[in-house]
């Protein structure tokens, strides 16, 4: 019975996007059928654009959330500082990009060459990896197995990092209101990505930068898969996810594996940050947003599996982007966004049938 209700609700949502919705009239409010773009049949180009938006956003989501899932799956550590690592990575990359280009607060994309983007990335990611390593070795290692205590420790670290970011970043802005205080700054994609690609489908032109973002997400996904399923370290990690004590009893140095996966997980937060901050911006307060993103992806997708992280990222990105574009627009009330409510519904539906997430296993 509940399954039928859910199936009908999902079917209705799909039908709504596909045919029921209609474009809002030039004037006046409109009814329950009016959305920004109208139905997919009516305006396939916009539909494709929203679809691509969700898939490319899922790429960035996956990078950040797979790091969270890796740490959680193996060590049962809910790294509450994941969002703070994300934020710190973005600001470090911004400072380096500023130093390299010397362009002041906002850099035009044409002034940024590939190295001006790649070097900040290659510096920021190891920095966050080191922060993760220190966190794990200094605070978490000797509390192994005390899940709540570890979560509280990472919360304390998150509070400290968030506050120190406000006190010290962005620092390379020489003057004005943007300096310090954790203000919003933009990382910039290299100039060659700043153009629209003709997809030759329904006359859609799409941002190359977002496609690059998706490619990076895919590359990380394939890399993680190869690492976890085709190398010895990966095998040990998967064994540790299934049964930590047994793995240690077989004489495998599980502490070393823990350290490695915490470092990789943290580094992924930094990498995701550089990628997504180049698309949007980076600002104090996004640590909460990205901690939420990682949590939702892991709760929906299932604990400790990269397939889960990928499925969770795609579903969550779909819910966010489609509820933003395909919900009825209510007349004068321009700015209402119901996407958080739909995120909650997504979680509730998944947990109702699979309490451990889509790809989660019992145990």
């Amino acid at each position: 019975m509940p399954k039928i209700v859910v199936a009908l609700a999902v079917l209705f949502a799909i039908l709504y996007v596909a045919v029921i919705a209609e474009q809002s009239p030039a004037t006046g409010g409109g009814g329950w059928r009016t959305t920004t773009f109208g139905s997919a049949i009516n305006d396939p180009g916009s539909f494709l654009r929203v679809l691509l938006d969700s898939i490319t956003f899922a790429g960035a989501l996956f990078i950040v959330a797979s790091g969270f899932a890796l740490i959680f799956g193996l060590m049962r550590v809910v790294n509450m500082a994941h969002g703070s690592f994300y934020l710190l990575g973005g600001y470090i990359a911004y400072e380096i990009q500023q130093t390299m280009t010397g362009q002041g607060f906002s850099i035009p994309s044409s002034e940024v060459n590939t190295w001006d983007w790649l070097v900040p990335l290659l510096v920021a990611v190891p920095c966050i990896a080191v922060v993760g390593f220190v966190t794990q070795q200094a605070f978490l290692r000797w509390n192994q197995g005390q899940e709540l205590r570890q979560a509280l420790i990472t919360i304390a670290i998150a509070v400290i990092i968030a506050d120190q970011i406000i006190a010290h970043f962005p620092r390379s802005v020489s003057t004005g209101a943007q300096r310090l205080g954790g203000n919003a700054v933009d990382l910039t994609w290299p100039g060659w990505t700043d153009r629209l690609v003709d997809l030759h489908v329904w006359g859609v032109y799409y941002s190359l930068a977002r496609l690059v973002m998706l490619a990076i997400g895919l590359a990380i996904g394939i890399g993680l898969w190869l690492w976890l399923y085709r190398t010895k370290t990966g095998m040990v990690i998967r064994a540790g996810v299934d049964d930590q004590k047994m793995t240690a009893a077989l004489g495998i140095n599980i502490q070393r594996t823990f350290a490695i996966s915490f470092v990789v997980g943290s580094a992924l937060a930094g990498l995701g940050s550089v990628v997504w901050a180049s698309q949007g911006n980076i600002a104090s307060g996004q640590d909460a947003q990205w901690l939420l993103n990682s949590l939702v992806v892991v709760i929906v997708g299932g604990m400790g599996s990269i397939f889960g992280a990928a499925a969770g990222a795609i579903l969550y990105a779909f819910v966010l982007d489609f509820s933003g574009s395909y919900l009825p627009t209510a007349g004068a009330d321009c700015c209402t966004q119901y996407s958080p409510i739909f995120t909650f519904i997504l979680i509730a539906l998944v947990l109702a049938f699979r309490p451990r997430g889509l790809f989660g296993r019992d145990g």
Binding site: I153, D333, T336, P340
Partner: protein, 300 residues
Amino acid sequence: MVSLAQTALFGIAGVIIGNLATKGGAGGTSKGLHLGWDPTVALVVAVVMTTVIGLIFGAVAARSAGIYFLMITLTFSVIATYTLGQVTNISGFSGIGGISSYTPGWIGDVLAHPDRLYYVALAVAAAVYLLIRYIVRTPFGLSLQGVRDDPVRMASLGYHVPLHRTLAFGFAAFIASLGGILYVWWSGQISPGNVDLPETINLLIMAVIGGLFRIEGAWLGAFVFIVIQNYVRDFSVPGLGFGGTLFGGSFNTIVGIIFLVIVLASPGGLMGAWDRIVAEIARRRGLMRTADESAAGAGN
């Protein structure tokens, strides 16, 4: 189990009463539906609605336990914050203001008689404490403790574990709604900023500083937290930042460090440390008494 959704439920109650009780019009810039209900009716409805939302939250989270439960309730909390912020016709990021003008007649104008609200808050706090003490001893409370200590055994004894968790969540939501309503009557405004992640974490920090496993810990933790807040506010540490709460760099860093030290040193918080000291003194006394007795015995 630790729920991080309490702050959200607190805020939801505040927003509901803000929507129900306030009236729009003259110079009112604040958001909300301005339904202009009678404050006492709004109070009851807000408590009931928040409890229902709490039950829904509980039902979704009830099949998970331990650290999963923490993650899921944290997610609820952050989602609630963004919902309040982005659904502009009930709240929006600026929130609802001027609620303190719409208190029930038996509290009256909060600015003119602040003492009435104070005594009401005190009475509610005492009543909630007694209610919890009472519930803990009822069969329901006992089975809740059973669910906490060993859910598998409780399930095999025929107790419906998720149902108990859901009901406990609803009860906690009821308490949170009282807190939320008292808060908006006192401060007059509620906004997503009151219930966002830093606020949730502050509440958790209070609970942990005081001690998670004792009801008294909540009071002690809140007290210590406010004392730290008041004394550290104007204090800046060289190298950590330039001081002041607005620009960061001192207060939250210091609270974070204190929190970290407490978590690392005493997982039971200050109450836990106190219990350990008491136990240690009792043990020493016991040792002394045995020593006296054996000395006396040797004397005979």
